[in-house]
Symmetry: C2
Subunit: 484 residues, 2 copies
């Protein structure tokens, strides 16, 4: 392949010059996803899907460890059922896709393609739950949901269909429900920080930003390199709103009837978008080793047939050794591409470690490892290959997290007046930590005037200043940001 | 719980007296699935879903071993795309659910809720495939599909929405495509026979029964205890039909342009229905150990508090021991139910092995194991618990398969004339092995007059008699049966 063609395959814009175009190029050129025939929909390609599989498998094991089981509910929901909780319905109805016909027959009642499963699940829950013995009910669903997105669609970040998980649990008491909400928020936080290497802030949503129908919503927010926040997951205490609409009642140990308490929580393939944005560079994707479908790629380097045999045998041995130790390695022995072409491809695809093996390395009993995050080239003793690969891999994981965390911290600014607020938002972006009177009017005005919304309310209880907007008594500390 | 209530929980009809009602009772009472709000749709409950997870995980590992990767395509398909291959479209259009509105806006073009993904996938494939280097393309999708089923709906067997996998592969030659079709058919056969303990016949579908748009269809057929066949999986050679409609072309090694060859193959949650029907008995479900989410349940038996402590400790030890060896065991230490109640529940749910532990057993260093398939009670040495559990588990797996295989063999009848055909079909059901002239007219007449269809064509080449219907020269051997 000519040099010219080669460069076409790479990313042609710089991350810090045109972030939006850079993102879309990564998605397409690293073969994570492709656009589908219908606007707003995406096709997740095998490489992108393998990242989703790792996310799913990891979280699923955590859900099961915390006592949850999976189930499947229909993807079509009758309009009457979707409308049973009024506030919830009004929140979703503008973006619902409606099925009106089956074959040539018009349906008696319109069916919504699932925008979320509260209503259809809780209809069943009301039949299943009779007694305190049936509680807690701890279910989760892995499925796809559809919400018509007209503007600002972006692969993985905002699409008319996305894959996600939605946990829907039922409890006897408010206290247990609060515990569940925090337990799952912490599962998410631990996952995004330790596995995806994406730092997250957690806190409560304001009344206007909470989930429609919830008592309160806890959120997990990340900060993207363009200074915009990304909501990565939410965990809701639904109170008794839905249990009252859906008659989810149980006979308690006190032999009296009670409405149940409910929680729901979810994350979606949006997490893939977060990984891309936070870690990628001008060369392409950078995957944290713990979520990379391929942790290390091995590239043979030889120029003669006699070398070929020796090199391929060594690659086979090293590949086997690392696989046996539980690493996911891929030996790229394709003959139609040059080593240079392969280097570029795997850099674009963000494989954390590249292992190069050539005849000289074999003679010297050395192996060359190249880090994707820093491009640092390390020569390691062949006999130490596993220990060194593992050490470097862990170092990359830590380095990516630290870099992202430093960015988030340096882009979280405490501001004391509205002029500074606007200035910092314009010049630097990121999270703006302010005091707020808790009145929706001020929140709304700030949003209209600056585009920033409250991402979360801080747990900080010490109020040292007045509301950033109206100057009246502040009741809480809030983190504002522009957001996806 | 009173004895009366207890019996309500169990299956109240006999399998050989009212098979259809028996089936529905198992589905509901073993908590595999529940009816949803919309007719023809089901909710898969956690216990049923955990069987699906085992099916999915096992098959997924086999797909990956054979070089396939997963991807995700949108669940909504524009009408124009669905209509691109005319035969395919006419086959699916009567049962398609149509989305006509998003929010309050009417869509410019109707969108079908995915009845199968050929059209939307191949639209992308045509963009992705350019050269022989891009082949073979070996993808699989785990998703749900919707097909409006008006009559004869039955949980897992025929529903308006079902979970399945659909493999869609692209090859350079017809020969490679034939190989793929057989490879995946064999993956299915090995799976249903060795893991689900359900014997299967395989063969080619007749022209009228093949997949709409395929060159030919290979099928995997099981025989249910009511004498009806169940199509459990199919593997199609799509020829170049779709590649011509969708312009899936590649430049070959010969530097000329060729239309690609394609295969597709799938199984669905229908396999759960097969397990239920084939193995269950009057007491409930019987799960083959290799697919059972719980392979062994351990039930403590004690009547005093002093015994309780000793028994629970022993259960903890045994449970740990078996888990460490890779068995999925569940220690049912719930205090609100009696041992008898638990026995009934786990029999209903088909757990293959029940381990009973009481103070007398502990004193004698013996453990009681009860087989779900035969109810045989075995007393084994405590120190041999793992070896014995494993041995009995394997024996159950083999026994279930043998029983089902004997049934299929004894219900496969070679008939030589149409009178016998009708008589055997009426009195015994099962597969009827006949010679056939290969004319659709005879096939159609037999179907109209008896309700039996050709399930598959035999590979037997020796034709020893004339067509069972018209008496003219037979060209092939065919297996007829009534079918789900």
């Amino acid at each position: 392949m000519s040099e010219e063609k080669q460069s076409d395959l790479g990313i042609t814009v710089k991350k810090n010059e045109n972030f939006s175009e850079w993102y879309v190029q990564i998605i397409r050129k690293a073969e994570l996803a492709d656009y589908a025939k219908v606007k707003g929909f995406t096709v997740v390609m095998p490489y992108g899907y393998s990242i989703w599989e790792k996310i799913r498998d990891y979280l699923d094991s955590k859900f099961k460890e915390t006592g949850h089981k999976n189930a499947y509910f229909p993807s079509l929901i009758p309009e009457s059922l979707l409308g049973k909780e009024a506030e919830h319905f009004s929140g979703f109805t503008p973006e619902v896709f409606w099925v009106t016909h089956a074959g040539n027959s018009e349906l008696g009642e319109r069916l919504a393609t699932r925008p979320t499963s509260e209503t259809i699940a809780y209809d069943s829950y009301s039949k299943w739950i009779k007694s305190w013995r049936d509680l807690p009910l701890l279910l989760n669903f892995w499925n796809s949901v559809l919400r018509a997105e007209i503007t600002g669609t972006k692969p993985f970040i905002r699409t008319s269909e996305f894959l996600w998980q939605e946990g829907h649990t039922v409890h006897a008491t408010q206290e247990e429900t609060d515990e569940e909400v925090m337990r799952m928020l912490n599962v998410y936080k631990e996952f995004v920080e330790n596995i995806l290497a994406v730092p997250a802030m957690t806190g409560k949503k304001s009344e206007s930003e909470k989930f429609v129908g919830a008592l309160y919503t806890m959120t997990l927010e990340g900060l993207m390199p363009d200074g915009k926040a990304l909501q990565m997951g939410t965990s809701h205490n639904l109170g008794q709103n839905f249990s009252k609409s859906f008659e989810i009642k149980f006979i308690g140990k006190d032999e009296k009837e009670h409405f149940a308490w409910q929680a729901s929580w979810g994350v979606s393939w949006r997490l893939i978008g977060a990984i891309v944005m936070v870690h990628g560079d001008d060369k392409g994707l950078i995957l944290p080793p713990k979520i990379a479908p391929i942790e290390a790629v091995i590239v043979p380097i030889f120029y003669s047939d006699s070398d070929k045999e020796v090199v391929l045998q060594k690659i086979e041995d090293i590949s086997q050794l690392l696989s046996n130790k539980g690493m996911s390695v891929y030996a790229d022995t394709r003959e139609q591409y040059t080593p240079g072409w392969k280097f570029n491809e795997w850099e674009l695809k963000g494989v954390p470690l590249r292992i190069e093996i050539g005849p000289r390395d074999i003679k010297n009993k050395k192996i060359t490892i190249v880090r994707r995050d820093t491009f640092e080239k390390l020569e390691v003793e062949e006999k130490l290959i596993y220990q060194e690969t593992k050490r470097i891999s862990e170092d990359i994981q830590g380095n990516l997290f630290k870099k992202a965390k430093d960015f988030m911290e340096s882009h979280t600014t405490e501001v004391e007046n509205y002029e500074d607020f606007k200035k910092v938002l314009d010049e630097k972006g990121g999270f703006l930590k302010v005091f707020w009177c808790s009145k929706q009017e001020c929140e709304e005005k700030i949003k209209d005037e600056t585009g920033a919304t409250i991402r979360l309310l801080s747990e900080e209880q010490k109020i040292t200043s007045n509301c950033i907007y109206c100057g009246e008594k502040a009741l809480t500390e809030a983190f504002f940001a522009k957001a996806y």
